[in-house]
């Protein structure tokens, strides 16, 4: 088994942390995983992305040209990753930040209003967790429970009070994606 995921958005949308949460969950589930950020100057205020590869065996390339899975948290990322997604792949799109529908019909595009859901929960910074929750509907090797445990196990103590809202964000994202017509 090997799955590649790209998470992309503006700097500040929690793109890198969203990927790390998946990486922690994969590690705790006993899998091999790589997490690699775009670390160029673009991450300061511009677009940011990270690539997460989850596998059973030693991972070769930590980068991927045509990912089967991606999260686009803003319009530039939607434009970019809709184009390169592998046929048959799934793209989670933050509906709150885009003004168009899907162009390709050979991929699954799941629109989730991440900003609105995060604001309903009471912390707009949780939009990345909403998107990660949505991704879990198609990432069969990692469960919602795995990600919750990863957050619990690896979040610094000073942030532990944020756990319930993070869990809620993951769950709401998961449910929103499930409601989308396949």
């Amino acid at each position: 088994m090997q799955k590649e995921i790209i998470i992309a958005g503006f700097g500040g949308q929690g793109v890198l942390f969203g990927g790390q949460v998946l990486a922690y969950a994969a590690m705790d589930a006993g899998k091999e995983v790589t997490w690699i950020p775009s670390y160029g100057p673009e991450m300061r205020g511009g677009t940011a992305n990270c690539t997460v590869v989850i596998a059973d065996d030693e991972i070769g390339s930590p980068l991927v040209k045509n990912p089967p899975l991606a999260i686009a948290l803003n319009l530039p990322s939607f434009d970019k990753y809709e184009e390169v997604l592998a046929p048959g792949g799934t793209l989670i799109v933050n509906q709150s930040m885009v003004d168009r529908g899907a162009k390709r019909d050979d991929i699954h595009v799941i629109f989730v209003p991440c900003n609105e859901i995060a604001e309903e929960i009471g912390d707009k910074k949780l939009l990345n967790m909403v998107a990660v929750g949505a991704l879990l509907t198609v990432l069969n090797d990692i469960t919602l429970k795995d990600v919750e445990k990863a957050l619990e196990g690896h979040l610094p103590a000073r942030h532990k009070h944020l756990l319930p809202k993070n869990f809620e964000a993951l769950k709401r994202g998961f449910e929103a994606a499930q409601k989308m017509p396949a």
């Binding site: 790589t34 160029g40 390339s61 040209k65």
Partner: protein
Amino acid sequence: MPRELWKGNEAIAEASVRAGLDAYFGYPITPQTEILEYLSKRMPELGRAFVQAESELGAINMVYGAACAGVRVMSTSSSPGVSLMMEGLSYIQGTEVPAVLVNVMRGGPGLGNIAPSQADYNQAVHGGGHGDYHNIVLAPASVQEAIDLTVMSFDLAEKYRTICMVILDGSVGQMMEPAKMPEMRPMQRANWDWATDGRMGKRPRRILSSIYLDPIEEEKLNLRLLSRWKTIQRDEVRYKEYFLDDAEFVIVGFGTAGRVALSAVRQARAKGIKVGLLRPITVSPFPFEAIEQLVGRVSGFLVTEMNSGQMLEDVRLAVKGRVPVEFYGRMGGVVPFTEEILHEIERIASSKLSVDVDPREAWLERMAQAV
């Protein structure tokens, strides 16, 4: 010890601490700065020396001084910063003192950029500073290897009184992977019979220097260095093999180019192409013998690097024109995708190769066509 998710740079920093790093001197530069940043907190916590020097020149000469005092010492930098250190490296080698230097390589030459690169292979492996010397050069491809090789680099440097460099491209430095840290080694300073660590009036004076005004004496040093290097070449070669048992041709790649090649090899295998991978872990000493063993039973080699074919020259030296050697490289901070190397594998598997073709010329022609 359980696996933890470590970023390459921070993993190197913590591994050096656990290996007994006594003194660190450095200067910030992307994509290496996390090592310095991590140690700026960790070293004082443990009562060990951390100095952010005024420049890379300052840092390497502080390393030189600490190395003469016989303590475990390290500096880390990235390509332009490492270039600034070359004079110091030559002096350290000329003085026969152990030191560790990590180079998290970025695109060059010049200021270049901060993207992952392997373009400092020649500088690390074939020279850099002036004079006749060789560095031991280790090339990790993963965070776990970065940890293990950092620990090993101190032991090798001290065993042979030499510089041990760890070269990795920026992506290994920036990447996170699950890895296991070694146990913390107890800090104890070795009682070297060469160190200028204060004689306290108890023993004859020691002098460490790289000055041998008498050419005959300098030549004796050169012979001593060479004799040590011969032992290193015999005893310290390390590499990893993948799918070599029935391989009809073999990719040679180190660091990130090597692990991208692994993905390509797996995909090629799934298509029935019998290709293997040899990933040098020590690029200096280079695994000449491992390639010699393969020459007799494979039909050719493909060298993949994130430079214009620097290790390629060492592979050609090992192959000695007996079978074709092909090359595929990306430069300037570009990391090849799996598909690019797979494409090369498929090209090689379906064409008749010749030993008369210059691999770099042929690669440049293919690159020109692709653009």
